[in-house]
Symmetry: C3
Subunit: 368 residues, 3 copies
């Protein structure tokens, strides 16, 4: 159901300020996140190995965390380093820790086999660290499977009907524009869509200076989707006919939309996002207005996508019917399914080879 051997966004770095112990469920596993005193982010299974009390109800002690039920103390690797009243600590006693990388204000986590956690696999998006590009990082929670959000972003045609008065601008968009190009990538896709000589969409028109308002623009969007659910959208809005598509960027205003979908459970999703612009300079009201417009637009998506999830809950056998504009979506789902099936097969092989542990007395009685 989930792909484990890949990097997911677990948090924005500002969520961990001031030693905060952040409890967050990722891929149906409870995880505790905090910054150690050295400044490195620690990610531990949020469940004491002794009796299962969540560690986020415990106490941070320097780089370590202590469970406040019987006082077991764990170091940043998850190893148990103290049991009050007991001198010898079994070498293997501890909780699972997860590889974590902090980069460009994002905290990335690897939920699969730690031996495979290669930091170079983290998708680089330099705009996130370029001071010219400004935006307000934010978070939204979805009552829907993350793939439904990926689907949503795979095709801009929905802008026409879902976001007519916010991010889209007109229903016409769906009839007169088509993807200029769809590139099928080994772990995602790249899709490009132009809308030439069109009215500026409402969210953009709002932040334009008076002289540019309501002037027709050439609107070019280039979207990149990557496994497991990482989406970057480059938007170039230029004066109509100025030849932006041939390289003339004069008068062009640009946006970078960054969205990170991380499954909380099979039917809920963490949605991290920021919407960057490169022209506000010191006028932070531009970011603020764009941020609010994006929230308005996302709420329109959320309304439909959560309703879609409920329909699928009602009838899990429902088979979606593809239309022509689902080419990118179909490719992504196929890529995801293959990777996920391969991972499950590997897991099954490993489990078959592992020795079975007997039930010991202290484990007896509870789940019978």
């Amino acid at each position: 159901m989930f792909l484990k051997n890949c990097w997911y966004v677990a948090a924005w770095d500002h969520e961990l300020l001031d030693g905060k112990m952040l409890a967050r469920t990722l891929l149906e596993e409870p995880v505790l996140l905090y910054k150690s005193e050295t400044g490195k982010v620690v990610a531990l299974q949020d469940r004491c190995c002794h009796r299962g009390v969540p560690l986020h109800l415990g106490r941070r002690e320097g780089d370590c965390v202590r469970c406040m039920y019987h006082g077991l103390k764990f170091d940043p690797t998850g190893k148990c380093i103290q049991i009050p009243g007991q001198e010898v600590i079994p070498a293997k006693l501890g909780v699972r820790s997860f590889p974590v990388i902090e980069r460009d204000h994002l905290v990335w986590i690897w939920m699969g086999d730690p031996a495979k956690a290669d930091p170079d696999q983290i998708i680089d998006f330099p705009y996130l660290r370029d001071p010219q590009w400004k935006g307000i990082p934010d978070y939204m929670h979805y009552d829907a499977n993350w793939l439904l959000i990926v689907d949503n972003l795979s095709d801009f045609a929905h802008l026409a009907f879902v976001h007519t008065k916010t991010l889209g601008g007109s229903e016409e968009y769906a009839y007169v524009t088509k993807p200029v190009a769809i590139e099928r990538l080994p772990r995602g896709f790249r899709v490009e869509r132009w809308h030439m000589n069109a009215a500026p969409p409402p969210f953009h028109n709002k932040v334009l200076p008076a002289a540019e308002k309501d002037k027709p623009i050439d609107r070019r969007n280039i979207g990149h989707m990557h496994i497991p659910g990482i989406f970057f959208l480059e938007s170039m809005f230029s004066p109509a006919g100025s030849g932006s598509e041939k390289g003339n960027r004069e008068g062009t205003r640009e946006y970078r939309n960054c969205q990170f979908m991380t499954p909380e459970t099979r039917r809920t999703t963490h949605f991290f996002w920021t919407y960057l612009n490169n022209y506000e300079g010191d006028d932070h009201n531009i970011s603020r207005s764009l941020h609010q417009s994006l929230i308005d637009g996302f709420m329109e998506d959320k309304h439909l996508i959560e309703a879609q999830q409920k329909m699928i809950d009602l009838d899990p056998n429902f088979k979606l019917q593809a239309i022509a504009s689902d080419a990118a979506l179909s490719h992504f789902r196929m890529v995801f399914s293959k990777l996920e099936a391969a991972e499950r097969a590997e897991e099954a092989t490993a489990q078959a080879a592992a020795p079975r542990e007997p039930v010991r007395p202290h484990q007896a009685g509870f789940t019978a």
Copy 2:
């Protein structure tokens, strides 16, 4: 679990006034109901065939409905007739439509094989269209399986204990009256029960003119229950000893109780009803008082029946023990079970013969 090849009440016609798009789950299927411009009621599966968004979140366009996610448009037969940005529409693309008949202010729907939907199978109850008979049509929602409501209506003995102060009148009713006749019908039953020389029940006494109040009456009830859960009750309340049972209707006041149970899910029910009288003339307060008395009585039933449902949820293996007065109930359940088993067998045969569809790329990944 459900009988599909039969007519159910889906709505009162006044629920569809002014172009309202009514979303209602019937037999665990989400259905969208609306009146087309020609005045005919349309019933479509309330789930876009493309990605499953509910159509009731869409927009009516004349006789058609448009999904507001990617703009697919469906005609009243459910056929997809437009995909914005795509010229060729696959011939089979569309959503299911259901046969619907509007008759005597009721909207009847056929949830099974459309080829078998014979309008002549709709039970006729002429009082529903006779202007002399007046009442206020209403709706109630039950957190209980519809058969528990059918059970309730199968035996008037419960009037004595559940409705002592509303629809019944005395506990004595349970001890001194018995069914005069029980007729087992191929798709239901007819049961008749008399209570001669009794006080008028509270709901009836309330609306009597001063001269008739508290005078003993001969009370005769004739109930008809039909598959799947359609109940008509004819009540004749005559001056005690006036010989109403031999045909003398002088001084008799009559009621027609119409109740329609339609499963929403296996544990919730739509309950449509109206309580008709033939004597109010222009005094609408009589309908209004009877309407309120019936709601009071139904709330007494609902309280017990929903508690009964919770007990069955706790222990699905609970076996109900029949008593003598369950003869009608037992017959109805047996009839229902046979019809339902026959339908399931037919369905299984059809499914075994149908070719298996392969999973296509755009369907992959979600439910794995």
Copy 3:
């Protein structure tokens, strides 16, 4: 999952005053409790055998109870003794009744085979009836499996971290004290733990006269746990160094903590308790203060134990890891598992030998 052939606490006797019909689910079975006119407690299955309506919605008539759906009347043994409108009552018609014993203000119930219900198996704790020992009996509801509460009480080490400022007193307790003795009993355990020359714990210090406040004490706790979840704790708090452990009780203040865990369902628990002291005389404020302190402490446990339950719900395969202080817990779980497995085996044998009942017409149709 549950051990049935043993005595459970179903209620405090004050809960049944004034003819109250108490509906309480025990071991996932709905039970109706009431005091008959002769003063004996009656416990019946809280579900009419006819159509499953809860009997607690009915009416007590002397020692009997009448279902208010169709009027069936049941005597204190559960036998149906009246069906309004029906002369012959089937001999076997009725609801299950449960053996009940009222003793020392507790109502004990036997949920298993009545033939095995031996009152001598009820654990005797004479302090519950000794007028010198005073306390305020109370009840708390847990959203957790009862074994997690048993676990909690199996080891006083948790006092140090969970109850530092209420029942414990210091984290030091976990480091410097150990069980003096652990006795493994055939149906439970006895554990003893001393903390010599320590500050009086906050709940105790609060009720001490000024002259004794903050004076060091020798603190001795002896706990007894019995199947299925019955816990008595004897506490002796003596002036430090006074030789209480050698029999000198001068200046010793004592407590008796009585706790009774009864499963409501597999994940919720009824928790009955009282905290007795032998020295308050006529100063009831001592009981009141101790009662409040204990509630404060129990809320600390409840917070952790319910979080623990949620973690186990998330991953039912989670295997608890034992530490040295889990010796008593491990023994209890093993004893419980053996008893429970033996009971299930016996039940399976009985079921295999029992004849299968056919589905009769009135039972048809509902659960299909």
